[in-house]
């Protein structure tokens, strides 16, 4: 084991991640702020002088996750695809549990973003409640889970198991991106034994959905056409409901298609936004 933020001379340096493959990264962190039972009761009722405490702390946590690179010297600026902040009011222990989950498809992990989100959400809770309670104590901030990337998955002992992702993470950038070869990896045949179609989401749609490639067994389609595929994708993962947002075009085996275009085994179906070349 070595410290990746130190170079051969032991000096701090930012790790060059340009050659790392992109993968789906997700981290969850949690922490708690202990407070007087009366403060917790006021918070729950919304009776604190600064107003909606939890909504403010949630926004603060999200903003903090996005600005982690400005706070932690050797962190990269990341385009997070998702930040979720959850609060649990624990009356028995007289504290608020704060949990943050950050996600992106990228080359570097998001555990610092999740930890920063929890820390700043806790600090904001302190700020919002300090008028009535100065003895609050922030603590137990730790990483719960981390998935994706070369170092493998991590789960803190005792951390609640996260739901298994239904959609495979993007193994690498499938289309032209910065520093990449400018090619879609047209992909292998279906990696499922049963007859299936290979689905690709391109460009802005891929980033909006956080999904690049997914294989869908034909047997899961009520109707074996593009409309049936869309319905099955939405059942598979709620992110695909965004296929209905704005204008989304479809090509089957690289020919423009419509909802009624029939599908057969090993077809390549691409969804993408309106084109903007030239």
């Amino acid at each position: 084991m070595s410290l990746t933020h130190l170079n051969a001379r032991g000096e701090a340096h930012m790790v060059d991640v340009a050659d790392k493959p992109e993968s789906r990264r997700e981290s969850s962190a949690s922490g708690r702020i202990q407070m007087h039972p009366d403060t917790l009761a006021l918070l729950a009722e919304g009776g604190l002088p600064k107003g909606d405490v939890l909504a403010t702390a949630r926004i603060a946590g999200i903003q903090a996750a996005k600005r982690t690179h400005e706070l932690i010297p050797l962190c990269h600026a990341l385009a997070l695809s998702k930040v979720v902040i959850d609060f649990t009011l624990d009356e028995a222990a007289s504290c608020v549990e704060v949990r943050a989950t950050c996600r992106l498809n990228g080359r570097t992990g998001v555990e610092m973003e999740a930890l920063t989100a929890v820390s700043v959400a806790c600090l904001t809770l302190y700020d919002m409640c300090k008028a009535v309670d100065k003895e609050m104590e922030i603590g137990a901030i730790h990483l719960d889970t981390k998935t994706g990337g070369k170092s493998g998955d991590y789960r803190r002992e005792g951390a609640a198991a996260a739901a298994e992702p239904v959609v495979r993470a993007v193994d690498g950038p499938i289309v032209t991106g910065e520093g990449q070869a400018g090619q879609v990896a047209l992909g292998s045949r279906c990696d499922i034994a049963a007859p299936c179609v290979r689905v690709k989401c391109l460009a802005e749609l891929r980033e909006r959905l956080g999904v690049g490639d997914v294989s869908m067994p034909l047997g899961d389609l009520e109707r074996t056409d593009v409309a049936g595929l869309k319905a099955a994708l939405k059942t598979l993962d709620p992110r695909f409901s965004r296929l209905d947002e704005g204008r989304v075009l479809c090509a089957v085996n690289q020919v423009m298609a419509s909802d009624s275009t029939p599908l057969t085994d090993d077809d390549e179906v691409a969804f993408f936004p309106p084109v903007t070349g030239g």
């Binding site: 385009a79 032209t176 070869a181 460009a203 690289q254 993408f272 936004p273 070349g277 030239g278």
Partner: protein, 149 residues
């Protein structure tokens, strides 16, 4: 001839290649599109072009075939770049040769209009205020619809 590539191109060399050994061509129109430093936001610092390999080439081929059916052409070259480009960089080349100028002008115009609305390229602009995907433009669709009979 259709090419999708990351490397820059030389419009002059491409035009010469189109005309090489020919004395029956009376007109050549060569359009080069460049990356602007302003578009959806005022300070665009770079552009990343994504495409759908395979479909991109066949879509461009179909557009050229349609142009050749509409006008008597003696040669067409379409080159579109992908990957990261900087303001001022050439991004697309359409060179059309014909016996007479009207066919060359119109076919070049037609190919660009159809390329912008039918070929699977997507632009992501990198600007001082952040990165964003470029939205489609109604004016491009209006331009393309001029050619529909």
């Amino acid at each position: 001839m259709i090419r999708v590539q990351q490397a820059p191109f030389d419009a002059g060399a491409e035009q010469q290649a189109l005309l090489a050994g020919r004395t029956d061509i009376g007109a050549v129109v060569c359009f080069t599109g460049l990356v602007r430093d302003f578009n959806e936001t005022p300070e665009v610092t770079a552009l990343t072009l994504e495409h759908y390999p395979g479909m991109t080439e066949s879509a461009l081929e179909a557009i050229v075939v349609e142009a050749e059916a509409r006008w008597p052409l003696d040669g067409v070259r379409v080159i579109h770049r992908v990957g990261r480009l900087a303001p001022g960089d050439p991004i697309v080349l359409v060179a059309v040769a014909s016996a007479h100028r009207r066919a060359a002008f119109e076919a070049c115009d037609f190919i660009m209009d159809y390329l912008k609305t039918r070929a699977p390229f997507w632009k992501k602009e990198h600007a001082t205020g952040g990165d964003y995907w470029v939205a489609e433009r109604d004016s491009d669709h209006a331009d393309a619809s001029r050619w529909e009979a």
